[in-house]
Symmetry: C2
Subunit: 429 residues, 2 copies
């Protein structure tokens, strides 16, 4: 497949990707669905209004679903419709296929714009946001710090994908500034409790998936059906205030240590685009209950990276390189587990992976782990001058991700764009 | 105040109440905002369409906000508008004030219907739902069971209102059947873990409040301003699967043990209607941090009751009588705490109290407490034949609440209507 649009070789958005997002442009403030192709963005409302979604599933509904300010209505249509939209767009954007988009210069100029004129918005209205804790390496590393090596993993951890409800309102799109939070903190040495600005500001390198089609309350999504329900994936930074979290979280879990902001990348990459990169997930021992039974290739070889640009610097430093394939519990298992009790899922629900850490020191997905809760400085610059235990005001974090494989003799690279945020100083106490 | 509508003496909905909800009727399936008065219901869309919200704040917007299928748009207008709506309706429904509603029989018949023809719906679209754990008696009782008397309360409990994010999608309106969930359960004696139907199905007697106006991400709601942000209250049953919860909840808190269903009463009673029933909250020792500073009367004398109707029986038995005034942390403190880190609140967010237990055996707000986690049978019928440790399939639970006081020499009673649900058998494993 090749496109009449010029696509840089290292682009996250080749013709094989076709992610979905919501944009506005400098000259049109209306929010509308879009896809990304190379350095350009295609306005799906324009495509729909021109009648170019002509397939049997979308023909009658494309104008309606792509006139929305979020992707939720499109998500509700189901996977056959998502597939039809993707293949229609691949065809419309192909060099070798005649289409109004290729051949009508005025229409093309209206429907396809350069990314420099685009403002990305939240791709969906999130109903509920859940975050899992599905990386065994991360759970173990954190467990060792708080409970010692022998009790690092709680007894439930290998039996079910542990997760908790997060805050949907504070999930924001890449680029949104994140304010350092205030809260109640206990001094480790004196045990004194004081209202203070967070001193242990951290990131968490995660991925997340959007639910496309849901289930009714009281029913469940069988693990064999889960792939039909998962719309696609984004990168996520689950910003964390470790000192606020440490004092508040027993016994009901994380709350104010997390809900001041969670950043996601703007483009939702479909599971169909990620299909070539499926690999076997880690061996699960003990074998999980039947409702969590895995398939042979339920993990994804998605390379993940986090870069930190210190305040006052122009250079970024890579602070983590990890991979989604390390994740112990699969997205299918997360979704089957979440609904096994009859909990109803809806289009636009967001389910996070939890911090994805790998097996070594360079693949830790949080500073909590890399700095051993602040005890060890993480050196960033080669000369040792720039270092961090936690994140400082003005620092920018950027998470990126890419899948690479040879498909039919051609090297394919699917990316996500960036999940970025800069930390701004706390409000007055 | 008295109304031209005949209001039974023990009604939850006198002219002093004017709660807000969303209804449809047997002959009109359209969802629309409404208020309750005695045994009748007033269609607020009809009132708005007739131009009867003539006050300065609502005049221009009433048709728009009361043409919605939820109260969210009305909530966003702010407390002065909520007050104007309530006083306008009180005036329109008064015996002594000429109004089209009182004097135009045809209009009255269209706008006011008997409750027997009404179907109640969710009053608001809930963006995020948070549940607190603010009854000291409940936290202590549960803590004793799991950690012994000396460590019953966690160290953070007296310093901040402990809470966690719940699931918004499964909050349902009174009358919705609740299906017993399935999940992973650990056998207490053998430690074996199996996928099973919940055997410890419980209720939790709670109240909850709806946020009316919110705050921007990164800002906070000062405790001095919280009363302007709280729209009103409902009764809530936070159904709980104790065996699922017990295995899953460490370290990230309750998840599938809770998110299969949460029932609320359909009418939101405004804080203005509850104003006469304010009382001093329990003494807080230690004195909380400045951002949680209380006023002199931040608790409410709201009598709460839960009745259980066993399957196959026509009689209901009262299983709990408690009072919101026992709650250690006030709603104002909950809201100030929730936003102190910059977490953004929105119109329609629901914040639950947590189980409200009182000081003695008859005021326990859950069967977990009353049966000491299933170790003691709770006798319901006088002859001892009907008893429960947990809830059985077919059992119905009903939570009711009322405030009573003498105001200007007149006995006022403000109620909430019922928060009811019947448990239906689990789905196949």
């Amino acid at each position: 497949m090749s496109s009449f649009i010029d696509i840089p070789a290292d682009s996250d958005f080749p013709l094989e990707n076709i992610p979905f997002g919501v944009i506005s442009t400098k000259d049109n403030a209306a929010l509308r669905p879009a896809t990304a192709i190379g350095d350009h963005v295609v306005d799906l409302k324009a495509i729909a209004d021109a009648g170019l979604f002509a397939g049997p599933l979308l023909k009658a509904v494309a104008v309606s679903v792509f006139s929305q300010t979020s992707l939720n209505a499109f998500m509700r249509l189901g996977r056959p419709s998502w597939r039809e939209a993707r293949s229609t767009l691949q065809s419309l954007l192909s060099k070798g296929t005649a289409s109004r988009l290729r051949d009508d210069a005025a229409f093309r100029a209206a429907a396809i714009v350069h990314k420099s004129t685009v403002i990305n918005h939240m791709p969906a209205q999130i109903g509920d946001y859940t975050d899992f804790y599905s990386s065994k390496e991360h759970a173990f590393n954190v467990g060792v710090m708080f409970r010692g090596k022998d009790n690092a993993l709680q007894p439930n951890w290998v039996h079910l994908p542990v997760g908790y409800h997060g805050r949907a309102s504070s999930v924001v799109v890449s680029g949104t500034p994140i304010r350092r939070p205030n809260g109640l903190i206990q001094d480790f040495a004196t045990k004194a409790i004081h209202y203070s600005t967070c001193k242990k500001f951290d990131y968490e390198l995660e991925t997340a998936f959007f639910v496309g089609t849901g289930n009714n309350l009281g029913e469940r999504i069988d693990i064999a059906d889960t792939e039909e329900h998962i719309f696609g994936m984004v990168l996520m930074n689950d910003w964390s205030a470790r000192d606020i979290q440490a004092f508040e979280y027993v016994p009901l879990g994380p709350f104010l240590g997390k809900n001041f902001g969670t950043t996601i990348s703007p483009w939702i990459v479909t599971m169909d685009a990620l299909e070539p990169f499926r690999v076997a997930q880690p061996v699960q021992d003990p074998v999980p209950a039947s409702y969590l039974a895995s398939g042979p290739k339920d993990a994804y070889n998605l390379q993940l990276q986090c870069d930190l640009k210190p305040h006052g610097h122009d250079t970024s430093y890579t602070i983590s390189k990890t991979n989604l394939k390390y994740m112990y519990w699969s997205m299918k298992q997360q979704l089957a587990h979440h609904s096994v009790n009859g909990c109803n899922m809806n289009a636009g629900d967001l389910l996070g992976s939890g911090t994805i850490s790998g097996p070594d020191d360079t693949s830790l997905g949080s500073l909590l782990e890399a700095s051993v809760n602040g005890k060890k400085e993480v050196v960033l610059s080669a000369d040792g001058a720039v270092k961090r235990t936690f994140i400082e005001d003005g620092d920018s974090l950027k998470i990126t991700g890419k899948c690479e494989a040879e498909v039919d003799g051609k090297k394919i690279r699917i990316g996500f764009g960036a999940c970025e945020g800069t930390v701004v100083p706390a409000a007055q106490l």
